[in-house]
C-alpha cells in the first residue's frame, strides 16, 4: 500500500551539531518546539524509546516512538505514533532528520515523515506542524528567539 509522506526542507545559518542538539536536547527543544510547549526526551541511542513530552510538570507524552538510527550530527531516524496507537504498526509512522553542511555557515535540514495513514488526523497535524516547528527552530538558532505565537 502506498502511504503518504511529508517532506520539509529548510536552510539554517548554524552548524550541524547545533541543529542536532536543537532537535534532541530536552532543554533546547523545549524552548522553540510548539512555542515552548513540548520537548523531546531520549538518550537517542538506537533501540531506545523517545518521547515528545508536554513541557510542564506533568511530562505527559503526546508522541512516542523508538530510535531506529542515530548518527550525530548527520542523521536521526525515529518512529512516531500517538501513545494510544503506539502498539499498532499501521498507525506508526517514521521520521528521518538529515542534517547536512551546505556551504560555509549554512546547514540544510530535511525532515521526511513517511508511512503516514491516508486521511488521518496525524497526517493533517504533522503537515501543518512541521513548517511551524522548523520555522521556529530556524529562528531560534539564527536569532535566539522563537517565532512569536
Amino acid at each position: 500500500m502506498n502511504k503518504p509522506s511529508f517532506v520539509y526542507v529548510t536552510y539554517i545559518r548554524s552548524t550541524p551539531e547545533k541543529v542536532w542538539d536543537a532537535i534532541t536536547d530536552i532543554k533546547i527543544s523545549g524552548q522553540y518546539w510548539g512555542g515552548g510547549c513540548h520537548r523531546n526526551v531520549s538518550d537517542w541511542k538506537a533501540g531506545s524509546k523517545w518521547e515528545h513530552q508536554r513541557n510542564d510538570e506533568s511530562g505527559v507524552a503526546d508522541v512516542v516512538g523508538t530510535v531506529i538510527e542515530s548518527k550525530r550530527p548527520g542523521r536521526l531516524v525515529i518512529t512516531w505514533a500517538a501513545p494510544s496507537e503506539a502498539a499498532d504498526p499501521e498507525k506508526t509512522s517514521r521520521v528521518v532528520f538529515e542534517i547536512e553542511p551546505h556551504k560555509d555557515d549554512v546547514v540544510r535540514l530535511t525532515v521526511t515523515h513517511s508511512e503516514l495513514e491516508p486521511g488521518s488526523d496525524m497526517l493533517r497535524g504533522i503537515s501543518s506542524g512541521w513548517p511551524l516547528v522548523l520555522s521556529s527552530l530556524k529562528s531560534f538558532l539564527e536569532t535566539g528567539k522563537v517565532v512569536p505565537k
Partner: protein, 174 residues
Amino acid sequence: MDIAKFKPNTVYVTYIASTPEKVWQALTDPAFTRQYFGGFAIDVEPSEGGAFFLRYPDGRVHMSGRVIDWSPPRRFSCTWLVEGMAEFRALPECLVTYEIEPAGGAVKLTMTEAHSWAVPDAILAGGRAGWPAILSSLKSVLETGKPLDIKMAPPEGMVEAVKQAVAAKAWMKG
C-alpha cells in the same frame, strides 16, 4: 488565460517573525529579492495584468509573466515563463502565488506553484529544491538582515526532462 486549469503541485510554508507589510515588501522590492532570490531583481507593474520580470544583475530577463492578483499585503500571484535558460523557454507558463497571513505575532507565508499540465516529477524537482532555499533565505533576511549563501542549480536530470517534455510537447496531451 484560464486560471482554473492550474493545479497546485508544490506548496511551501514558512513562518516569519515579521509583519505582512514587510513580507510583502521582501517579495516585491528588487532591493530585497536581489539578496535572497539568486541575485535576481524583481521588476513588476503593481496591478492586475501588469508585466512581471525577474532580471539578472545586468538587466537581462530570467523570468517573465503577468500579474494575476496584486492585493497588498495579502496575496501576490503571477504567471512565470523561464526565458533565461534556452531549454526552458518553450515550456508553458506556471502560476506562482504568495499568500501572506498574520499568524499570532508572526506571519505565515505560503508559496504555491501551480501548473496547467501534468508536469513530470523531474521538472517539479526544480521548484521543490529551489523554493526551500529561496524562502529560507528570505526569512533570514527579514529576521537577521542577512541572506543565506546557498548554491542554486537545476537538480540532476531536470534539464534533460525539460528537453524531453519540449520535444514531445508533453503539455498538449490529455
